[in-house]
C-alpha cells in the first residue's frame, strides 16, 4: 500500500511544507536546536557578507542532505561519519572556489569562514538526524528549510548590526544626515564581535516569549 500512496503524495504536501517552514521558527537550528552558531556570527557585522554566507550555507545543507540521502542505503555504517565529512567538505570547496571566481571581494571578506561551514553543526546534524533515514526529496526540503532558518537569524543580526553600527543597509546610507546633525551617532559598539552574541540572546528572548512551549525547564 505504501508505494501507491506515496507516489500520489504531492511534491508540496502539508507534511513536506512543514519540513520547509518548521525550521524557520519553531525548530530553528540556531535558537532552538543550538546548532551552527560557530561559523556564522563573525560575518554579521555587515549585511552583505551575512547574506552571501547564508546562501552558501543553504546550498551546502541542501545538497549535502540530497547526496547523503541518495547514498543512504549504500553507506557502510562504520565509515559513515567520514563519508559525510567528505561530501560536505567537497561541497564547501566547490562553493569556496565559485565565490573566489565570481564574487572575489565578498570571498575576501568571508575569508576562512566559508571553510568553517564544514564543521557547521547544522550540516552534520541534519545529515545524521534526517538525511540518513529519509527519501531524497524530503531531505532536500529539510536541508533548504534548515538553511533558511539559519539564514533568517544571520540576516536579522546583520541588519541590526549594520543599521545601528554603520548607519547603512547593504552599504547604502539610510539614516538621514539630519539625524546626525541632531546629535545622533553610529553605535560603534554594535560592530564589535560581542554584540552579535547579545543580539542573538535577545532574539532568543523574544522568540521564547512568543512561543512559551520553547522555554527551558529550570
Amino acid at each position: 500500500m505504501s508505494a501507491a500512496t506515496k507516489e500520489k503524495e504531492p511534491l508540496f504536501s502539508a507534511k513536506n511544507r512543514k519540513l520547509l517552514t518548521n525550521p524557520i521558527n519553531l525548530n530553528n537550528p540556531i535558537t532552538v536546536q543550538v546548532l551552527g552558531i560557530c561559523s556564522a556570527l563573525a560575518v554579521t557585522a555587515k549585511l552583505k557578507p551575512a547574506f552571501v554566507m547564508a546562501v552558501s550555507v543553504i546550498v551546502v545543507t541542501a545538497f549535502a542532505n540530497l547526496i547523503i540521502s541518495l547514498l543512504r542505503n549504500g553507506i557502510p555504517p562504520r565509515i559513515r561519519i567520514i563519508v559525510q565529512l567528505v561530501v560536505i567538505a567537497s561541497l564547501v570547496i566547490l562553493v569556496d572556489q565559485l565565490l573566489k571566481a565570481f564574487v572575489y571581494d565578498v570571498s575576501r571578506q568571508l575569508s576562512v569562514f566559508v571553510g568553517l561551514i564544514i564543521t557547521n553543526c547544522i550540516v552534520m546534524g541534519r545529515l545524521e538526524a534526517f538525511a540518513m533515514g529519509n527519501k531524497p526529496w524530503p531531505s532536500l526540503l529539510d536541508g533548504i528549510g534548515n538553511g533558511l532558518g539559519y539564514s533568517l537569524i544571520l540576516i536579522m543580526v546583520g541588519f541590526v548590526r549594520e543599521l545601528f553600527g554603520s548607519g547603512t543597509i547593504w552599504g547604502y546610507h539610510v539614516i538621514p544626515q539630519s539625524f546626525y546633525d541632531l546629535g545622533y551617532r553610529n553605535n560603534g559598539f554594535m560592530i564589535l564581535p560581542p554584540m552579535a552574541l547579545i543580539i542573538v540572546g535577545i532574539i532568543i528572548w523574544i522568540q521564547r516569549s512568543r512561543n512559551p512551549e520553547l522555554v527551558e525547564e529550570k
Partner: protein, 245 residues
C-alpha cells in the same frame, strides 16, 4: 553487514570520484581566480598612482600601458630584476611575496622588494607596495612617489579584518586624501617617514607637519600599524634611493 572489502571499495571509489570533481573544478576556475587576484592588486597600485577611473575591466590594460618597469631590488639597493616586456603580471616583481620578504628583513636575512616605475602623462612616478599589521590582522597598501623619491602622490590602504567604522576607515578618502604632498625626507635629506599622529598633525612643530597625517579616532592601533608599516617598508628602499638620487 558490510564486508571489509565492500568498505574499502566504497572508500576507494568515493575518493577517486571526489578528487576528480574537485580537481576539475579547481582547474576550470583557476584562471578566473588568478585574474581576480591580479586585477585586485593592479587596481590598488593604479589607484595609488592617481588613476581614479580604474575598474575591474580596464585594470590589466591600463596597468600594462602605464607601468614601464617592474623592478626588484635587494637589501643593498641593487637592482636584481628589471622587467619591461608585456604581460607584467608574470614578472618577478609582481609575484614577490611581500610578507615573506619583510619577515626575512626582520630576521636580518637577505631580502628582495619590488618597485614599480610608471609613466603618467609624461611624468615618471614610482609605486611601492607595503604590508604591515593592524589590530586584528594584516594591513597593506601602495604608496606612489614622485621621481624625487620624496613627495607622495597618493596612497591606497586595505586590510583583512580591521574593525568596521573604526580601524577600517583607513581605506576611505578621509584618511588617504591626507597623504598627497607629504614628504618622506626632511630638509637635510634624513629619512623621517610619514607618521600617523593621534590628536592632529596640525598641532605638531612646523618641521614635522609635512611628515605627518591625522590618525583615525577610535582606531589607534590600526593607525599605529599603518605608521609602522610605512616606516618599515620605505626604510628598506633607502639604499636604493640613495644610489639613484
Amino acid at each position: 553487514m558490510y564486508s571489509n572489502a565492500y568498505i574499502f571499495r566504497y572508500a576507494g571509489i568515493m575518493v577517486i570520484l571526489v578528487a576528480a570533481v574537485l580537481s576539475a573544478a579547481a582547474m576550470l576556475l583557476k584562471p578566473m581566480q588568478e585574474r581576480n587576484e591580479a586585477v585586485d592588486k593592479m587596481t590598488s597600485i593604479l589607484k595609488a598612482a592617481g588613476f581614479e577611473d580604474v575598474n575591474a575591466k580596464n585594470a590589466i590594460d591600463l596597468f600594462n600601458s602605464t607601468i614601464t618597469n617592474m623592478i626588484v631590488i635587494n637589501q643593498d639597493g641593487e637592482v636584481v630584476d628589471d622587467f619591461t616586456g608585456a604581460g607584467k603580471e608574470k614578472s618577478k616583481a609582481f609575484g614577490l611575496n611581500l610578507k615573506e620578504q619583510l619577515y626575512n628583513k626582520s630576521m636580518k636575512r637577505p631580502f628582495e622588494l619590488p618597485i614599480f616605475k610608471a609613466n603618467k602623462n609624461g611624468e615618471t612616478i614610482y609605486i611601492i607596495p607595503m604590508r604591515g599589521v593592524g589590530l586584528w590582522g594584516p594591513v597593506w597598501g601602495n604608496i606612489a612617489l614622485r621621481d624625487d623619491f620624496n613627495t607622495v602622490i597618493g596612497v591606497t590602504f586595505d586590510h583583512k579584518s580591521e574593525t568596521p567604522g573604526l580601524g577600517a576607515e583607513i581605506t576611505t578618502p578621509i584618511f588617504t586624501d591626507q597623504f598627497p604632498g607629504k614628504t618622506l625626507f626632511d630638509d637635510n635629506g634624513k629619512f623621517v617617514s610619514i607618521k600617523v599622529v593621534k590628536g592632529g598633525a596640525a598641532n605638531l612643530d612646523a618641521s614635522m607637519r609635512n611628515h605627518a597625517v591625522d590618525a583615525i579616532s577610535g582606531g589607534t592601533i590600526t593607525s599605529n600599524g599603518v605608521s609602522d608599516m610605512i616606516r618599515n617598508v620605505l626604510e628598506s628602499y633607502e639604499p636604493y634611493i640613495k644610489k639613484i638620487g
